[in-house]
Subunit: 330 residues, 2 copies
DNA sequence: CTTAGAAATGACAACGTTGTCAAAAGACAA
DNA sequence: TTGTCTTTTGACAACGTTGTCATTTCTAAG
């Protein structure tokens, strides 16, 4: 900047004004500065700028995801990015791998880079450690799962309601023995989905049978094994409701191996790429990661723009996509 | 830091030493500083640190991907992250959407945040604009596609060789009328794959028939339409080789709709989630995005550690995964 | 006890910006 | 011309660190 100022024969402050498009610089000078900075190919130093600015803004936000490579998380990531780029804001992303300490490490690393905002798909259950960040002015929004021990803006899928709709869908096709296969109960969304399952059974006056419920299934293999076990039950379930992506895939594999994929109904929570090309196509309760991410980013930027209203919980609805597997009669 | 120094009754420089784990601080003082910074919950300011440091390192790298939500790109992203976190480095990621100007905007934004390194999956074809970044000390590595008008480290898949293996695989099952469906020819990987197709036909002494080649297919729909057209040819192709992810999906859809999915062989470039659950399973030439990303990150950090050897091109090999669709006889 | 040398600590400037405020230049009226 | 008001410009400090180098404190040998 000093060199640009020297070449344009102005003060360094004037260069700063031009670079930041501050008003009150005569067009003649502005042009001179621009061409000088062009010639020297000057690159504005945002770290110095952010250090000096009174608001300390870095035009960067941090996003903690379960795994940047997981389809749901990366869809969130993308929709957050889309909102951010419009404002010239860049996104630091990191994977927590469902590990509380990694989540904290990431947040600390983001914090020392002075991100303006934080969007977190929580791994842990105690987020009181974020109070320090908030006090420092960082806007914090949770996605997909609610925070623990911290009041904050949150954007969630209607997990329980979605599953209820799925159960009802199966019941409307005549099913009564509907099994449920779920992910780790420590993950709040998994717990919510289980709750939806139980609630809808009650509403439909179907007796809850705990042998039809398999939980804490992490990954395709475990789900496949659990499904195989379920299918071996004496009166076997006539329908399966799977509470997560990979669980759905595992269940489908097991059904196929048992040759029951056209006999036993299946409804999965969360959409799967290619689900429509399978035989039968898999009926799913689809989330809308794009809407979740977009909402979260918008809420966050609104906070950064000064919104001081009480923290809110935003719910993004699911929708059932029927493709065949959920419409098999018992 | 000033406050911590005051509370611990030491100079600010000693606090800096403790924070940076510099040697030469007596254990007693170090403890005092630690507890003081604990009590005030001091958060190290990396932007100030990076501004002052002589090497100007920000412990942050920038990654330009085609789309952070695309499975291949996000797998790259994840493996880069894994290498970076080990060194306490964070990753800024952005999507170019195959748009040259977005790529440049992202690079500029990364540059003004003074990233230490840049990993780019190129959208554009002229990367001479990166000379300025390089002069500033930024390490630059290209992944998936080679740079244009710039000599730089590059990590590529053996596209042509992979396709050749795919064609040979089909030929070994008796196919002679092998069609090729490819992505935009402006994308270098797509061009390479087409080259591999032609080369292998020549090697096998199969005459090249341009009616069997459909290019510039971007997205599932276009691929589906092109496949349908191919299947309507008088002597129709007995096998398809698809040059990209979505093209494979589109081709498979078309085959299914025509009821030819068990008659016409299909080999796709790039693996597809769930490909093993389809009927038939889809045989693919699989890339290894994990290895590509890891290699790129390692090369980049080696450069940052002072490696001054000539720029190199690293090739990551593909492997054929047979699942049924590629083993159908003509 | 002294003294040389090593180890620990601190004072101060500097990194590249922007906020503050004062000074200079321009516009207009009397 | 002068005076007043507005617009444009610049000098300088400060943001929170770390590099440099000087000073103080400790250690161990004589």
């Amino acid at each position: 900047m000093r060199e640009v100022a020297a070449l344009a024969k102005v003060s360094i402050k004037t260069v700063s004004r031009v670079v930041n498009r501050e008003p009150g610089v005569s067009p003649a000078l502005a042009r001179r500065v621009m061409s000088a900075s062009e010639r020297l190919d000057y690159r504005h130093n945002l770290t110095a700028s952010s250090l000096r600015r009174s608001d300390g803004r870095s035009a960067t936000i941090g996003v903690v995801l379960e795994d940047v490579a997981n389809p749901f998380s990366s869809a969130l990531h993308r929709s957050i990015e889309d909102v951010a780029v419009e404002r010239g804001v860049l996104v630091l992303a990191g994977s927590s791998d469902e590990d509380e300490s990694r989540e904290r490490r990431l947040v600390r690393a983001f914090g020392s880079r002075r991100v303006d905002g934080l969007i977190i798909q929580p791994a842990g259950h105690d987020h009181s450690y974020l109070l320090a960040e908030r006090k420092a002015g960082t806007a914090i929004v949770f996605v997909d799962r609610p925070p623990g021990f911290l009041d904050a803006d949150t954007v969630l899928t209607d997990n329980a309601a979605g599953v209820r709709r799925g159960v009802k869908h199966l019941a409307s096709h005549g099913h009564k023995r509907i099994a449920f296969l779920g992910d780790l109960r420590t993950i709040s969304t998994a717990a919510e989905r289980l709750r939806g399952y139980k609630e809808e059974l009650t509403a439909l006056r179907i007796a809850f049978d705990e042998r039809l419920v398999r939980l804490d299934l992490r990954g395709i293999e475990k789900a496949e094994a659990a499904t195989t076990a379920l299918l071996a039950l004496k009166p076997r379930p006539t329908a399966l409701l799977t509470g997560q992506n990979l669980v759905t895939i595992g269940a489908f594999r097991a059904l196929r191996r048992a040759g029951l994929h056209t006999k036993v109904a299946l409804v999965g929570f969360d959409d799967i790429l290619l689900a429509d090309l399978l035989v039968p196509g898999i009926t799913v309760i689809a989330q809308d990661p794009g809407a979740i991410g977009r909402t979260a980013a918008e809420v966050m930027f609104r906070r950064l723009d000064g919104d001081r209203s009480p923290f809110q919980q935003h719910i993004v609805v699911t929708k059932i996509i029927t493709r065949g597997s959920g419409e098999i009669a018992p």
